[in-house]
C-alpha cells in the first residue's frame, strides 16, 4: 500500500456551516478538512425558504472562504412554491432539503405530509433539482416509534416518492441502518444515499455515554454499521460522502442546569467532522479494508450523481501520518465559540499534504 494518495477534488454533499460567529469559525474549516465542494444545509434560524435568503447566505460563505465551491439548498416549507423552485433553479441552487418536523436541530419548520408538496417536487423534477431527505419520522410512543426505528419507518415514504417521481433525483441523507442501505440499493438510479464519516465508526455503545457522539439519526447496531461499511466497500455509485458535520457550542453538548427550577437541558444533536474530514474518511475506510474505494466515495460517486465534475487544480494529496502526527487535539475555538471535533484525542492515519 502506498504512503500517498492523490484524490480528485473531494466533495462533502451534506454539511452544516451555521450562522454568526459559529459560521465564521466552521466555514473556514471546510477546506482544511480537504473538501473542495460543499453542499450546504439550509436549517438556519429562520430556515432558508427563499432564493434571496439562500443567495445572501452563499455570499456570506464565499466571503469567508472563496476557495470552496458552495452548493446551496432551500428548506422545504410552505413558502417554497413551484415558482420559487424555478427562481431557485435559475439562481443555481441545487437542491431542497426536507426535514420531518421536530426530528433534529432547527427542524421545527419541517414538513408533516409530503402530499402537499407534490407540485413542488414536480417543478424540481422539471428543473433538475435534487430532493434531500432527512429520513426519519417523528417519535410516537403509541406506535412504538423511537429514535431507534425512526429511519426504518421513513423508508416507505422514500419508496413512495421514488415511485411517484421517477425522474426526480432523491438523496436519502446520512443513512444509519442496514434497512436503509438495502432499500436504496433496490431503488432505481435516481435514488442515492449519503453516508457520514462518524456512522462508519460509531454504534449505539459509543453514542449513549458520549454527548459528542449524539446526532440524529442515532448510530445504531453493529450490523447496521457493517451494512454502511459494505455499501462503501461495494463501490456502488449510489453511496457517497455527506458528512452531516454539525457543530454545536461546547455548552450545548453538556447536560446544562437551568438555575430557576433545576431543569437539566438535553444535549444538542450533531457530530463535528469538517476540519478533519477527508483524512478521517481515509483512516476509517482503511480500517475496514476499503481504502481502494476512497476516491469513488469522496470524489467520484457524489459528483456524478449531482453532475458536479471536479475542476483542474483541485486535487488533494494525502500521506500517512508518522509518529504523533495526526493526533486530533481538543477543541476548535473562534470568537466566543468553541466546538469539540469528532476523534478528539485519537490519531488519524492520514494527513493532508499542504
Amino acid at each position: 500500500m502506498s504512503d500517498e494518495i492523490i484524490l480528485p477534488a473531494p466533495a462533502d454533499f451534506h454539511v452544516h456551516v451555521r450562522q454568526g460567529k459559529m459560521c465564521e469559525l466552521v466555514t473556514a474549516q471546510v477546506a482544511k478538512g480537504g473538501v473542495r465542494t460543499a453542499y450546504v444545509m439550509p436549517n438556519l434560524v429562520p430556515p432558508l425558504t427563499s432564493t434571496q435568503a439562500v443567495l445572501a447566505y452563499k455570499a456570506e460563505l464565499e466571503r469567508i472562504d472563496p476557495s470552496v465551491e458552495w452548493l446551496m439548498t432551500l428548506y422545504l416549507h410552505p413558502d417554497v412554491t413551484p415558482d420559487e423552485i424555478r427562481r431557485a433553479a435559475k439562481a443555481g441552487i441545487r437542491g431542497v432539503k426536507s426535514y420531518p418536523r421536530g426530528v433534529t436541530t432547527n427542524s421545527n419548520s419541517g414538513i408533516e405530509d409530503y402530499g402537499v408538496y407534490y407540485p413542488v417536487f414536480k417543478a424540481m423534477e422539471e428543473e433538475g433539482m435534487v430532493l434531500n431527505l432527512h429520513g426519519e419520522v417523528p417519535s410516537d410512543a403509541e406506535k412504538n416509534i423511537s429514535i431507534l426505528n425512526a429511519e426504518v419507518h421513513f423508508l416507505a415514504h422514500l419508496e413512495k416518492l421514488a415511485k411517484d417521481f421517477p425522474k426526480l433525483s432523491i438523496v436519502l441523507e446520512h443513512a444509519t441502518t442496514s434497512s436503509a442501505i438495502s432499500t436504496v440499493t433496490s431503488l432505481p438510479s435516481n435514488v442515492a444515499c449519503s453516508i457520514t464519516a462518524h456512522h462508519l465508526h460509531l454504534t449505539i455503545d459509543e453514542v449513549a455515554p458520549q454527548p459528542h457522539h449524539y446526532c440524529k439519526p442515532l448510530a445504531k447496531e453493529p450490523k447496521d454499521r457493517k451494512a454502511l461499511q459494505e455499501a462503501v466497500s461495494s463501490g456502488n455509485p449510489k453511496f457517497f460522502l455527506g458528512s452531516d458535520s454539525a457543530p454545536h457550542p461546547l455548552s450545548s453538548k453538556s447536560p446544562g442546569i437551568m438555575a430557576e427550577d433545576g431543569h437539566v437541558s438535553a444535549c444538542a444533536a450533531g457530530v463535528y467532522t469538517s476540519p478533519i474530514l477527508i483524512p478521517l474518511v481515509a483512516t476509517l475506510l482503511e480500517s475496514f479494508g476499503a481504502l481502494d474505494k476512497l476516491e469513488s466515495f469522496v470524489s467520484g460517486n457524489g459528483r456524478r450523481f449531482y453532475g458536479i465534475p471536479p475542476k483542474d487544480g483541485q486535487q488533494l494529496r494525502l500521506r500517512r501520518t508518522k509518529g504523533d502526527d495526526g493526533l486530533v487535539k481538543g477543541t476548535f475555538k473562534g470568537d466566543g465559540v468553541e466546538v469539540m471535533p469528532f476523534w478528539a484525542g485519537k490519531k488519524l492515519g492520514w494527513e493532508i499534504v499542504e
Copy 2:
C-alpha cells in the same frame, strides 16, 4: 382518589451507596426518599468479595444512618467459595450479585462463565441466599451484540440458571425489555425481577441526549417501557422496586476533556433516584394508572420474595403536593461531591409527610 397514602415500610431492593465522601452524602438520602429497608450493591473498589469486607461496609452504613435496615450482598467472584457463602449466610448477608464482566460501573471483576460458579450456587440454594443478576451480556460487534440487545441475549442464561437451580431464589435486576418481563413471568416462582423508577419513565429518546439519563441497562423502546408499566400494573408478585439508584459525581456525567491528548471521556452509567424515590414511584405509577399497586410494588412483593417483613412503626405517609411543592431542585451536595438527581426541574405529585 385520596390525597394521602399510608405505606407499610417501603423497601428498595437494589441501591448503590458507594464509598468515601459519596457514601456519606448518599447513604443519608436513602431514608429521605422514604425507604426503610435497602438492599445494598457490592460493586465497590475493590469489590466486596468477603464476609468480612461486607460486614465492615455494613457497619459504615449503620454509622451514617442507623434508622435504615441495610441488607447486604457479596460480589460474585472467584474469591466467593462455597465456604465463603456459608460464612456469609451465618453473618446475615442476604445475596450475591453477579456482574457480567465490563458491562457497568466497577464490573471489571465480573464473571465470564456461570458454569464455574455452580458449586457456589448450590451452597447459596442450601443457605437460602438470593442470586442477583445484572442481566446483560458484554457487547460483541461480531455477534451484533450491543447495549440495545445485551439484556435479551442474557435471558437464555437466566432460563438455564432457573432450570438448573429450581430452589435458588434468583432476581433479574432492573429489567428494561418486554422480553425480560415475559421471560420472568414464564419462569417458576423462585425467579423474580426488580424494576427501577427511571425505567418506568424513560425511553431511548430521553436517554440519548441526556447523560443524567444514561445508565446500564439502557432504557429502550416505548413498547419496552409499556411492558414494565404493565408488569407493575398487573400486581404480579414477581415484580418489585429495586431503584438501581446509582450516584456519580457531576463531573463524571459531563463529557470531559483530558488535557494531554484531547481525549474526550465517556459519561458514567447511572441514574440517581434515592432522595426522591418513593414520591417518584408514586408519581410515576399514578401517571399510568397503577397507584393502587404502589403498596405491593414498594412494600409488599419484594419483602415477601426476600422474606423481610415490615416492622411496626416503619409506615410511610405520602400526601399530594400542592402549588410549587414537589419541585426537584438541582443537585445534592456533600463534602467535595455533587450529584444530579433524576427528575431535576420537574415536579413530583407526591411528597413524604415528615
